[in-house]
């Protein structure tokens, strides 16, 4: 019996790294937006946080696009 440990290992590694990275980036984005919310409540602006948030969300959107590409490119 030939067990493809390499495939299992890479699925394991990729899933772990990609998930943690994606969730972390997205969490940062959300945190940025909620900082704006708090800043707005105090009459301040939080331009840096908001820019950072949009960069984070763009990265997530790119990941989703890549996911769709993977689904479609299976042919």
């Amino acid at each position: 019996m030939k067990i493809d440990w390499a495939a299992i290992g890479s699925v394991f590694g990729v899933s772990l790294v990609a998930t943690v990275a994606l969730v972390a980036v997205f969490t940062l984005g959300v945190a940025g937006l909620s900082r704006r919310e708090r800043a707005a409540a105090q009459g301040n602006s939080a331009a840096l946080a908001v820019t950072g948030a949009y960069v984070c969300f763009a990265a997530c959107a790119a990941a989703v696009a890549y996911g769709i590409y993977l689904i479609m490119a299976k042919a």
Partner: protein, 411 residues
């Protein structure tokens, strides 16, 4: 499509019925966390998942082309064998739905194929190696991979932003959950709808209607996509409840981590050639997300029941399929008997389910109908074949159409 024999027609209808059960069995995989955290209204969630399943079905035919290769010898496989395999898979799907347990539809299908093949051609026709590497190992690896990823992601996410409240946070996680659930739905459509396409194509080849090595005909792609979308839209609310509320209590942040881990694991595995069952992945990631939050807890009793169902899936479907195959072997009337039995059993299961209705209105209610669950578990544990015959005698006069044959007009 000129000489379309009766048995082929039956196989096609049964395959579409399986596809339908596959759809409503697996709605939970994509949408359970989205529904339980309130990111989407139940009806909206299933509609979205159904649409994406349909879209996914058209994206590629690659999975359909590789289906069933390697696990059993395709040479000399007859339409009756495929029919028997589908009978086993459908019945197992319906039974697990009745008790609200998520189990892998692919395992049910593979179990059915294995059982029917053994009954038809002996144990030699099944590749034991393939069984271990394609079924057993992934079944163990899937929840571990997705669960660990979800656990670390949840932990990390909570350590970055501790108290997640406020409008922006709520909206953010809501959008994130919807996006990752959409990806899971899309991936599910490409994988699972195509399994049915593959089965139908296999049957058509076996019946000599289309040439070997053909791609699935357009009507097959269309009807399989529609069957799985319809099933998804009907929604396996019982399973959604177990997955979304029964295993653990999820906050939006955890729901997002769970769903993202599931989407990543599914895509990574199918891309790297080590296919994991969607059901196992999502169950694992939900539990992982539950463990990742401080104070979060997993209901191990529910988890244990689920794992038992996983372990039983393949042998149970195989056993039913083997029995069905040995009956269809008796001749055309045998096939008819099996078809009638299947319809009768489906009606019976549906009737039992009406005693304790779970639908979009009460899917998030936490109380578990333990009475029904334990009773049904008791019915599952002995070989399901016994229950099938009992149900037959009980319900054969029932004139109501079976839910399983809903997709019949699609032929």
């Amino acid at each position: 499509m000129e000489n379309f024999s009766l048995i082929l027609a039956i196989v096609v209808v049964t395959a579409l019925a399986f596809d339908f059960t596959n759809g409503f069995h697996d709605t939970a995989n994509a949408m359970a966390t989205t529904i339980s955290t309130g990111a989407l209204k139940p009806k909206v969630a299933v509609a979205m998942s159904a649409t994406l399943n349909l879209v996914g079905a058209f994206l590629s035919v690659e999975v359909a082309n590789t289906i069933s290769k390697g696990l059993v010898d395709e040479t000399g496989i007859r339409p009756e064998v495929i029919f028997a395999a589908l009978v086993g898979a459908i019945l197992w799907n319906l039974l697990t739905w009745l008790v609200g347990l998520p189990s892998s539809s692919s395992h049910a299908l593979m179990g059915g194929l294995i059982g029917a093949t053994i009954a038809s051609a002996g144990t030699g026709a099944v590749h034991g190696d393939a069984l271990v590497t394609k079924v057993l190992l992934p079944a163990i690896a899937a929840p571990l991979v997705a669960g660990l990823a979800a656990m670390f992601a949840t932990r990390f996410s909570y350590s970055i932003s501790k108290n997640a409240d406020g409008e922006a946070t709520r909206k953010g996680y809501r959008a994130g959950q919807i996006a990752s659930a959409g990806l899971v739905s899309l991936a599910h459509g490409t994988n699972d709808a195509q399994k049915t396409m593959g089965i139908i194509t296999l049957a058509l080849i076996a019946g000599g209607v289309i040439a070997p090595d053909s791609n699935p005909p357009t009507w097959v792609i269309l009807s399989a996509g529609l069957a799985i979308a319809l099933g998804t839209y009907i929604g396996g609310w019982r399973i959604i409840r177990t997955m979304g509320k029964g295993l653990t209590d999820l906050q939006p942040q955890q729901g997002f981590a769970a769903q993202t881990s599931a989407a990543t694991a599914i895509l990574a595995s199918s891309h790297l050639g080590f296919s994991l069952s969607t059901t196992h992945v999502v169950s694992g990631s939900v539990m992982g997300a539950g463990l990742g939050r401080k104070g979060g807890a997993v209901r191990w009793s529910t988890a244990t029941r689920m794992v038992v169902a996983w372990a039983l899936t393949l042998p149970a479907a195989a056993l039913v399929a083997a029995l069905a195959e040995s009956v269809t072997d008796l001749g055309d009337w045998g096939t008819a008997v099996v078809a009638v039995l299947l319809v009768a059993a489906s009606v019976a299961i549906w009737r039992i389910s009406r005693r304790e209705v779970v639908d979009h209105s009460n899917v998030n209610d936490v109380e578990q109908p333990t009475g029904v669950v334990t009773a049904a578990i008791a019915a599952v544990t002995p070989p399901p074949a016994g229950t099938v015959t009992e149900e037959l005698t009980a319900t054969i006069p029932a004139p109501a159409p079976a839910p399983a044959s809903d997709s019949a007009p699609a032929v």
